[in-house]
Symmetry: C2
Subunit: 154 residues, 2 copies
Amino acid sequence: MPLDDAQHEYVDKVATFFAMLGSARAWAEILGWLMICEPAEQTQAQIAEDLGLSAGTVSTQLRSHVQLGMVEQVRVRGDRTQRYRLRPGAWYGVMASELERIRALGDLARAGETVLPRDRPERVTELGDLADFFAREWPPLMERMTAELEKGSA
Amino acid sequence: MPLDDAQHEYVDKVATFFAMLGSARAWAEILGWLMICEPAEQTQAQIAEDLGLSAGTVSTQLRSHVQLGMVEQVRVRGDRTQRYRLRPGAWYGVMASELERIRALGDLARAGETVLPRDRPERVTELGDLADFFAREWPPLMERMTAELEKGSA
DNA sequence: CAGTTGTTTCAGGTCATACTGAAATCATGC
DNA sequence: GCATGATTTCAGTATGACCTGAAACAACTG
């Protein structure tokens, strides 16, 4: 089913947002469309057709989504075609994975201690303190988040 | 003062990290150098010389840092040259500004309500709930952060 | 006011990457 | 096993970003 005007506008809005953050346009368009398409499960061919993208682009960018954990494949017995859909809890997963980046920042700060400047060393140490703080706070924050979101959907 | 081996390695580490997140290499190198250079205040010419970058690149990328609030200019009376340094609390500011992105995500989710799919509408609504959650949690988290970091530096 | 040094601007070269289109590959149904 | 259609791969193109180098500009010194 092709996109109507409102859907097209929304896909564009999502694509613009994520493109601003550095994502490939096609990557972001696919994400936007998978948020609102009907049914939620779509084949690569359908996505390519609906968004006017080449099959190659859809294949590549979908693989990226799958690797990032945003999208999952759905096997349908008796049907040759694979379907893809936004993974339940996809948004939650994105936030949870931020912890890895926080840890990487902490590593970066610790590596800086070997070249710690005498003048204003807090340029480096503040980063370490910040990373430590978030490394401590993030897990309980994630727990509160899941508790809150489940409550909403119950 | 040119970089010694350890400093060069660290600048490279910082540059690689931020380049992975999509930053320009020169932007990230300048950031890394401003974290550990001595003294903390540097002129554009010094930075260009030390990092082996052109004056134009340093001018452009430094302006970006200033606009993002990471770096500030230091006026020195009686000296023709402007100096730049990593802003105190620069890392804190980065985290605090995340609230804007959270709000933007919320706007995106709300815009999606006009095209809410019948099948699995939580693809959109979960994003909104998530954004609302973080919009509520972020300010108190920031307060705890500042309290904690001040305690450490006291 | 001229000279010197630091900064900004900008045209051009270089490089990385997104995307396409087509060929190859794969998976399934008959 | 063959035919069909979906998916993957890949060479080629194009778009855009980064960076440089040079010229214009600004700010201070003597």
